[in-house]
Amino acid sequence: MKIVTSREELLKPLTMVGGVVEKRQTLPILANILINADQDRLKITATDLEVELKTEASVTKSEEVDFTLPARKLIDICRALPDSTEISLDIQGEKAVIIAGRSRFTLGVLPAKDYPAIEIEGAIKGIRVQEGVLKNLIDKTQFAMAQQDVRYYLNGLLLEIADGVLRAVATDGHRLAMSEAVEGLEGAEDFQIIIPRKAVLELGRMLNDSDREIAIEVGSNNVRIIMGDTIFTSKLIDGKFPDYQKVVPVGTDKQVIVDRESMRQALHRTSILSNEKYRGIRFNFAKDNLELLAHNPEQEEAKEELEITYDGEKLVIGFNVGYLIEVLTVISGDNVVLELKDENSSCLIRSQEGDSSRYVVMPMRI
């Protein structure tokens, strides 16, 4: 049984699904990718039991056959071959022979019937959105997801439809990122799901900023995102996301407008001499002036002054500089609004241009 294709046809889909394969697996077959071949197409699937990614590759010729091959090795072989090499793949029982130019590789095959699949269950709710819209929601929020937090429901991204708004929320308890989209969602059924961290990172990498329509299908335990030939499936985190609306500060009486890029650069410079562990920086807000101050345990010091638009009382407050830099990196627009109350209350950050993303950052005792 022979499959004939080219390096390029194979490499692109392989690299795409390759990211899902874990370096250390609990089952040997999880190191493999599943290939379902028919006359002119290959369906390629990778899974880690949490996330499953399926895509297609066109081939010059093939027969109907299903098998699995070691993902890492296959990708490395394709990558190492010269451009536009013709590849022929021949399954001979428990071995696969790959011939490309004057190279010949024999790889171990595991049976396709043993390859685990994620079944989507329960009543399926679905919406269709533009690919770029989902990408934007993820890009604007994913950095705030928790990592290995005891509160397992924070180790992921909340995606919900409520009152015709599609919203993504991520938080690790210290900061929160929230982004919304409304276009074309009239009449969509409400849902609320938490997509695990790894799946979110994978999705963020895969999605393009295009206006192609994609489908999001939500089952009771899974979410499936269909992008043309490519189908992404992930298990969901079974838990209750905290009430994020409650932590969005209200009653802020101080409004500061800063130039996004100059603030980001100033913070970056100041951060060099902040405490490496806590990364605290002191913010000194005065009329139209912001002073940034950082100290490290070696008693070294960094100081910056920045022109801002501010007409309120003086305020001294500490923040983890890393959290602010991350917000300023993803937020859109040239001018950013910081809404503050006092040194113990969290800060709300949004774009002045009315971007639909909002960020909350907890202050730090300095």
Partner: protein
């Protein structure tokens, strides 16, 4: 000065039960059940029995020995008397364990006399107060003092002056040094290193290469007799942990969780009584065949709450990949004392925190009054 009671548990038993004297006494688990030797008398050591040996092995070596379960309450009482007596010698006493202490005797020559005199007096005093033998080692730092007290056990008294350090250390087998267990010893032996003298010929870089930055530095220092010379009364406990060995291997998840719950309650109570909160939770597990593993998780905020410790330890167990295998021993603990990060949490509810504090304070009060295990936190339903 380092002072170590000789075969402490066994000696207490021999003191209180004259019929045991001169006979091999083994304190620890009972033969036929699981567990290890805690302490054995010097008569028992002649049969090759030693501390931490599985009890079955001890029984094989000497079936006629007197086997006793430890009576901790009695030993603690004796230990307290010993520590009090040491306090009369010097105000700076650092108990290391129930039968061991460091005593700072620097600058006491004028008061009592030569170091050897101080040692003699201390041993005499302990014999007077509790009627037991001990071994004392006197040296310029903790390492030398400890090695000196081990040098002439039992009933030893060894004084090492600063100029004698190298002569004292050089002929010692490397396994006498701190942190040289079977593994490190094997590695050293592969290098052909058996004695401290030989170890000294290796440079710091080489030792670091073999034993890691810290391990290498530690060995390098020890070979030269370099160690801390401070004796602190505070001591400074590094961790609080509890573990439990099962009579028969356990697979039942409910039973394991139940066991961890009890241990978490103990750890939490001990930590709270000492006003300590830990930032690291450790889960320890020993499977069949003595295969032992530990897993740790670092927390964002230090805790002493039973519930938090239990849940994290349980998750560590679940994620360890050992769930479902027969368990011989399971334990948990907390370490790395500290407060919270200098940053609050968006979802912390101050009311809830206060409520929890009250809850644990009340529980500790009840436990103090009515004893362990009378009141425990309800089990959350898990499916």
């Amino acid at each position: 000065m380092h002072l170590d009671m000789d075969a402490f548990f066994a000696s207490v038993e021999q003191r209180d039960n004259p019929e045991y004297r001169g006979k091999p006494v083994v304190v620890g688990a009972m033969p036929g059940r699981r567990g290890v030797v805690s302490t054995c008398s010097y008569e028992a050591r002649k049969y090759g029995i030693c501390s931490a040996m599985p009890i079955s092995e001890a029984h094989r070596r000497c079936p006629d020995a007197i086997y006793l379960r430890p009576d901790m309450a009695r030993y603690v009482a004796v230990s307290k008397k010993v520590m009090l007596a040491l306090g009369e010698i010097s105000p700076v006493v650092e108990p290391v364990s129930i039968d061991e202490a460091y005593i700072d005797i620097s600058g006491m020559e004028r008061l009592i006399g030569e170091p050897v005199e101080i040692g003699r007096l201390t041993k005499l005093k302990i014999r007077e107060v509790v009627g037991l033998d001990c071994s004392a080692g006197i040296g310029p730092n903790r390492l030398i003092a400890k090695l000196a007290s081990e040098y002439q056990k039992p009933d030893g008294l060894v004084v090492i002056r600063p100029e004698q350090i190298q002569a004292f250390l050089d002929p010692m087998p490397v396994s006498n040094l701190r942190g040289v267990g079977p593994k490190a010893r094997q590695e050293l032996e592969q290098l052909g290193v058996y004695t401290v003298k030989h170890l000294k010929t290796y440079s710091l870089d080489v030792l670091r290469g073999y034993f890691g930055d810290n391990g290498g530095q530690h060995l390098y220092n020890q070979a030269r007799g370099i160690a801390l010379d401070q004796v602190g009364t505070k001591g400074g406990r590094k961790s609080i942990s509890k573990e439990s060995t099962f009579n028969e291997d356990v697979i039942d998840q409910r039973q394991l969780r139940e066991c961890l719950r009890g241990l978490a309650a103990e750890v939490g109570r001990t930590a709270r009584s000492k006003c300590l909160k830990g930032r690291v939770v450790t889960m320890k597990i020993r499977l069949d065949g003595f295969e032992t593993h530990t897993r740790q998780k670092k927390l964002r905020n230090a805790t002493s709450a039973d519930g938090v410790v239990l849940n994290i330890a349980w998750n560590l167990y679940q994620e360890s990949g050992f769930a479902g295998r027969p368990v011989r021993l399971i334990g948990l603990g907390i370490s790395e004392w500290g407060g919270s990060e200098p940053m609050g949490d968006l979802f912390d509810d101050p009311e809830e925190c206060k409520r929890e504090e009250h809850l644990y304070a009340a529980m500790d009060e009840v436990t103090k009054k009515f004893g362990r295990g009378k009141l425990s936190l309800g089990l959350k339903k898990r499916d």
